[in-house]
């Protein structure tokens, strides 16, 4: 048992945990972060091998159920059309993320007021903007100033120029132009030029299997090295937290965890911060039952684990006559469109969606995709058919705003457990009617863009299954303890020294990748903790 009581104990070293740790470094607070995974090694990433794509089927798979690394915990996602995609390591899911790094729109913070759905956030875009700015500098965002889909904030200037669009991106851009629709080079958490001692992107196209170049801004190469040099911050890896403990006063007083050697330990803390993502955080809260909190910690509202939001993804792939050099360039960071982002009720749904243009595929995944379409026969016609698809595909994904619904949940599975015997999360999820209509609209518009760009044929996957990257809403933020779990500072209404800083606290999802917002929120909370932590506990 450790008798040292730390000031701030962070559980999870991913996007938000890293940002908070950096924010608190050098503040005189004694900060400890426990992470169940380890440090990744760039020399061990798949892209160092010719057959790198095969490892996306195993130890670099998106689903923990496929990957089965020691740091992973299983997820029962049989009752959901969307499967959880994550990664457990220092850097968390930023290790495998595509690096798309947009901000939410001002309207995303006021969905209830503007459109009568979802919930308003207890803060607005302007309040968060300085922390977006800070996060984008720390991350080294590549992008282009002046996107007309966003307010012309003078501080919203990506520190690095945009990544190359390439032949594929420019082909798609012309398609958008023919339709008169918005598009813009993606804001990318991938450095296009040398930045803070890191080498720039080399267009290897392997982002979803980790970045051996270190150009993708996973937090193991951005926040953590600086945080650990900053003073007062320690990070212990291979530590799986079982539960948060509470004292007789109802305050959190630490955690029980297994260390890297499998020894059960207790760590005491004045403040506990959960940064375990929108599935891991409710799982930990629900596993932290006690006589004071029989339904799970901080769950007097009954909302812990409810209102789970993914961003449903549809993918429409176009087949072109000419090679597009699509295997070159950042996998997910090319161009994007927010033509259909803001609500237009005439479309038959509320809220909206983004398009992101994906690069082409490597040789193995080209074969698997064409096989899935039934377009890659065996026998004498095989090679001709393969030549017609390899390097001739471009895809649009539709990222739809998912509305919060209490029936979409993370609960504890009654049977499935992790390697330590801790109940695993169970996902119960279905798309609401609004989401169904929104996604159908998006898929149809995606086909229009591909047609306008010159595709000779298109293939639609209405809902991508292993695409549950964005895990939100399961410990929502708000001002009313009856309808939310945490306040605007991520502090639990029920436990005044327990904070949640990951995507769990999103009241609504918006229709963009959430990492920039997750980290901006963590930086805002960290800034407040650094200035006056006791004030947050009142």
């Amino acid at each position: 048992m450790s008798e040292r009581i730390v000031d701030v104990l962070i559980v999870g070293a991913g996007a938000s945990g890293a940002a908070l740790a950096w924010s608190l470094a050098g503040s005189k607070l004694d900060v400890l972060c426990l992470e169940q995974g380890g440090w990744m090694k760039q020399e061990e990433y798949p892209s160092n091998e010719v057959a790198w794509e095969l490892r996306r089927l195993t130890d670099f798979g998106l689903s923990p159920n496929d990957r089965k690394r020691p740091a992973d915990y299983p997820v029962n996602d049989a009752s959901s059309p969307i499967a959880v995609s994550n990664f457990n390591a220092v850097g968390g899911s930023t290790i495998l993320f595509a690096g798309h790094f947009p901000r939410l729109h001002p309207s995303d913070f006021r969905a209830r007021t503007l459109d009568g759905v979802g919930a308003d956030w207890p803060l607005d875009y302007r309040t968060l903007a300085p922390f977006y700015d800070l996060n984008e500098r720390m991350t080294g965002v590549s992008g282009l100033v002046g996107d007309p889909a966003y307010p012309s904030d003078p501080a919203k200037v990506p520190p690095l120029p945009p990544l190359p669009m390439g032949k594929l991106g420019e082909t798609m851009a012309r398609g958008f132009n023919r339709l008169g629709w918005h598009w813009w080079p993606s804001d990318s958490a991938i450095i296009s030029e040398p930045w803070e001692g890191r080498a720039p992107c080399i267009n290897a196209g392997t982002c979803l299997a980790g970045c051996a170049q270190g150009a993708k801004s996973s937090t193991d190469v951005t926040y953590w090295p600086v945080a650990l040099r900053g003073g007062g911050v320690r990070l212990e890896t291979g530590c799986r937290v079982r539960e948060i403990t509470v004292g007789a006063d109802g305050l959190a007083d630490g955690v029980i965890y297994w260390d890297a050697e499998g020894v059960e330990r207790r760590q005491r803390a004045h403040v506990v911060v959960l940064a375990c993502n929108g599935v891991g955080t409710p799982r930990l809260l629900l596993n932290s039952r006690s006589s004071l909190f029989p339904d799970g910690l901080a769950n007097r509202s009954g909302l812990v684990g409810r209102n789970l939001m993914f961003h449903p993804y549809a993918m429409v792939t176009g087949l072109f006559d000419e090679p597009l050099e699509g295997y070159r360039g950042a996998t997910g960071c090319c161009i994007m469109s927010q033509e259909f982002y803001e609500t237009d009720a005439a479309r038959g749904f509320l809220r909206g969606y983004s398009f992101e243009i994906l690069r082409g595929l490597g040789p193995v995944f080209t074969a698997l995709m064409a096989f899935g379409w039934g377009r890659l026969p065996w026998g004498p016609d095989h090679h001709g058919a393969y030549a017609e698809v390899f390097d001739r595909t471009a895809a649009l994904v539709v990222i739809g705003e998912d509305l919060p619904e209490e029936v979409n949940t993370v609960t504890l599975d009654p049977e499935l457990k992790d390697a330590h015997g801790v109940p695993a999360p169970k996902i119960t999820y279905r798309l609401g009617e609004n989401s169904e209509r929104l996604m159908a609209h998006g898929a149809a518009r995606a086909k229009e863009v591909l047609d306008a760009a010159g595709a000779r044929e298109t293939f639609c996957e209405p809902i991508l299954r292993v695409a549950g990257w964005h895990l939100m809403g399961t410990a929502r933020m708000g001002t009313d303890p009856e309808t939310s779990v945490v306040n605007e500072w991520g502090r639990c209404h029920d436990v005044k020294n327990l904070f949640v800083i990951d995507g769990s606290i999103f009241p609504t999802a918006g229709a963009v990748n959430p990492t920039n917002t997750i980290q901006a929120l963590a930086l805002r909370i960290g800034d407040a903790m650094r200035r006056d932590l006791p004030a947050l506990l009142d």
Partner: protein
């Protein structure tokens, strides 16, 4: 490894023959027939990644030999190309999962081989550290987007 999972020389012959039919050599000679992957160990590499595929493939290979023998022409490897394709179709009709599983195995293994990559005109090297060159952006394409003006909603 159990007997069910192991690949005896007989099964290996059937596997080579089946892969040669699934992925015949290209007419221009740049791409080899798929059977080479057995001796090269590429199938074993894929089985090590996807071990659940081993048993259905083994059962399917046995079915190929049985079907070939039923024609009085067995084993499967002894058949000519037309007969092999007919037997593959016959076994696939009886076991609809076999052929898709074999194709998946074959494609995943084949397109990760450096010689095959060279044959399709793809540089047979790891993506890192060489990466790929890309042309500078033509940001003039954004002129109509800029001209249209703001599309965000005040909140």
């Amino acid at each position: 490894m159990s007997e069910i999972e192991s690949f005896s020389p007989v099964r290996e012959q059937a596997l080579v023959a089946a892969l040669d039919e699934i992925l015949p050599a290209s007419a221009d000679g740049r791409l080899p027939a798929g059977g080479f992957m057995v001796a090269a160990g590429l199938l074993e590499r894929t089985f090590s990644i996807l071990p659940d595929m081993r048993v259905p493939i083994a059962f399917g290979l046995d079915a190929l030999d049985r079907a070939a023998a039923a024609r009085g022409r067995g084993p499967f490897a002894a058949l000519d190309a037309d007969e092999r394709r007919a037997v593959l179709d016959e076994v696939s009709a009886a076991d609809p999962g076999f052929l898709p599983t074999l194709m998946f195995l074959a494609y995943v293994s084949y397109y990760a081989d450096p010689g095959v990559l060279a044959g399709i005109g793809f540089e047979p090297r790891p993506p890192h550290p060489g990466g790929y060159a890309m042309a500078p952006n033509d940001l003039g394409l954004l002129d109509p987007v800029r001209a249209r003006g703001r599309i965000w909603r005040e909140a």
